[in-house]
């Protein structure tokens, strides 16, 4: 397989396919190098890759809706390719961290280089609770590649003068952006707009949003379930 797409900064060669609905990534790991991959996301790989299961992030990972384990794939003797597919159909994106940090929604982590540190961050009860999402975010920092995914498509937004994002649609955002969970509009909008709560970002940076959410799909299917007969 020919891997043509490379990024501007130094990092592993990789190629996206199937975006935005069925996005997956193929990464070429140089000889002797290691890639961290979210457990169960490996779909295909060369035979000279050796896999080691690591327990990362400790106890708090239990609460993230993320699987508890990250697998490390090391290319033995020669370069090797690995095909990585996230669990939900949707989009996949990439950043190269150069001593920077990015916050991911708890289920968005796909893979990263070894020098990217992934740690869980408690959002605080108010932010976490009202965002309707998990109480934890994953903070990825350091140097290297980072791939992340979402259900639905991903749109990258440059934030220069603040931005408002529906709480459930945040995939990732760069460190340095401040955010508050708040409502939009007046009192009438709070109750009747159907928009619920939003995250108000301020400062400069980037936000990645997802165009679909899993929950509304699940709620939509619910009425189609058979009803249980009570005898």
């Amino acid at each position: 397989m020919e891997l043509q797409e490379t990024q501007d900064k130094a990092g592993f060669e990789f190629k996206f396919e199937g975006k935005p609905d069925y996005g997956y990534v193929t990464v070429k790991i140089p000889a002797g190098e290691t890639l961290k991959v979210e457990a169960s996301a490996m779909a295909t790989m060369d035979t000279n890759l050796s896999m080691k299961t690591k327990f990362k992030g400790g106890f708090s990972r239990l609460f993230q809706g993320e699987s508890l384990f990250i697998n490390e794939f090391t290319a033995q003797n020669a370069p090797a390719e690995i095909g990585i597919a996230p669990a939900a159909p949707g989009d996949i994106d990439h950043v190269y961290l150069d001593n920077e940090a990015i916050f991911l929604q708890s289920s968005a982590f796909v893979a990263s280089g070894m020098d990217v540190k992934a740690e869980t961050k408690f959002q605080g009860l108010v932010k976490g609770f009202f965002s309707g999402e998990n109480l934890f975010l994953i903070k990825c920092s350091g140097v290297g590649n980072l791939w992340f995914n979402s259900y639905g498509g991903i749109i990258e937004i440059d934030v220069n003068d603040g931005y408002v994002v529906d709480t459930g649609h945040i995939v990732a955002f760069t460190e340095g952006l401040e955010y508050n969970v708040t409502s939009v509009g007046g009192y009438k909008s709070l109750f009747f707009s159907g928009e619920g709560l939003v995250c108000k970002f301020s400062g400069q940076g980037k936000v990645w949003i997802q165009t679909r959410k899993v929950n509304p799909l699940a709620w939509w299917v619910h009425p189609f379930r058979r009803s249980r007969k009570n005898n």
Binding site: D166, T211, R212, R225
Partner: protein
Amino acid sequence: MDIEIQLGPGSSAAKVSLASGEILTAEGGSMIAMSNDMSLTTTTYKKKKGGVLKALKRMISGESFFMNHYEPGPNGGDVFLATALPGDMMTMELNGQGLVVQGGSYVASSHDIEIDFSWQGLKSAFSGEGLFWLNINGTGKIVVNSFGAIYPIEVDGDYIVDTGHIVAFDETLDFTITKAGKSWISSMLGGEGLVCKFKGKGTVWCQSHNETSFGQVVGPKLRARK
């Protein structure tokens, strides 16, 4: 007002760029992101203009009772809109001609567009398909969404479309709700149920998939609800 549909047909979102002074009216719950200084007002009909009856009628059509109006700050701004289910979106431009939109397919429109319950849709109210329609009139832009992809069909004469696959159609078209086969028995057993028979000249926009059918595929696989 500039509308760009991104990431279609499966994960579509509409990026609506508003200049200062322009107002976008959108269905409740459809906003996923917007500029910081965008102001949101919620009313039952138009900004600074209520209309409880209109809202009630719209609600019967499967839309929300309240409408959200987005107005940007002095430098303009963007609103991103998306829907709950996988599918595409489409922008249509109205220059006075009317459009009939399936209730659940309406997403947003420029503020000068009139949205009203379609009495014509009542023809199909008893069809069991739960089909209600909106009459859209005026001059401006409208965004509709679909389950699956959207494709147009130019009707000149007669054409039949399954009621579950209609997104929108030109008001110039006349229609009747009828059975798909020759007899009621074959129509029902054939799983086609009711269809819409269009007459005249105009366009019908169809969706490639029918969400009710999909729900009926997935639902029985899940544990029964209490």
